[in-house]
Symmetry: C2
Subunit: 132 residues, 2 copies
DNA sequence: CCGCATCCCTTCGGATACTG
DNA sequence: CAGTATCCGAAGGGATGCGG
């Protein structure tokens, strides 16, 4: 990476367009989408469609309450599609929408970065505590 | 974007490496870094170094408490550097570290995506409410 | 199997007042 | 100017029990 600076223009343009950052619509989108549970759910759905119980088991430590809630939010945002199969017992499938798939690229960029740099961050945290 | 699927490998590899997602170190990193205030601060520092009061005014609706706290966390993670100038009155400068700058690319990818797609998301949200 | 409703505890985060 | 300390309301999120 070039030492100087090499970030995209939209980030600064967003800041120019919304000098009062509290009014920036991008913020509301990011808050929802970059949240802990959303990332895990979208990461799972990146592989293949999932049923409710599958997702629950796969993620492991998500409560059924948060799973339901986050799935609804992602559905409301148009990132995932929900299909009910009226079998007995009923089964419900969740899959990424085209919009949701378009989000995988920036999402995986974040995940990739975290995956690559978390050792450096852990080290920085440890040293920061030693100083204090 | 290709219709099929086109996401990076690390996302799936992270899921394979940490089948129990609750143990995944990437999660802790993301939670901290992709949070609301962190994104705003890093976006500001992407332009140039800032002093404390400048950041506060620039972001606008961040409380001094959260600004201090988030700056400390980002510093602990090694993403920003803090320099004290013992003038009177004292002044403190915050700037991105090399690690912090390396994060701008994935961060701006997210911001760019949000900037481009928030109209679609707003529309999806509105329609979702109409259905209900 | 999928999900909603309730209770309840914990964390987030703003407001205010006070130091070097 | 750049913080720290305290108080307190708001929101996040787990546990449990019921319904389609």
């Amino acid at each position: 990476m070039r030492p100087g600076l090499s970030f995209k223009e939209n980030m600064q343009e967003a800041r120019r367009t919304y000098p009062d950052a509290s009014q920036c619509p991008v913020r509301g989108v990011l808050d929802q989408i970059a949240s802990k549970w959303s990332v895990l759910i979208l990461s799972a759905l990146a592989e293949r469609p999932y049923r409710f119980g599958e997702l629950r088991r796969d993620i492991g430590d998500i409560s059924q309450r948060m799973l339901t809630q986050t799935l609804r939010d992602l559905q409301a945002d148009g990132l995932i599609e929900r299909t009910v199969f009226p079998t007995t017992p009923p089964s419900v499938e969740y899959k990424l929408s085209p919009l949701g798939r378009s989000f995988l690229l920036p999402l995986s960029a974040m995940v990739d970065w975290a995956f690559e740099h978390f050792p450096a961050i852990d080290k920085a945290r440890a040293e920061f505590r030693k100083e204090a």
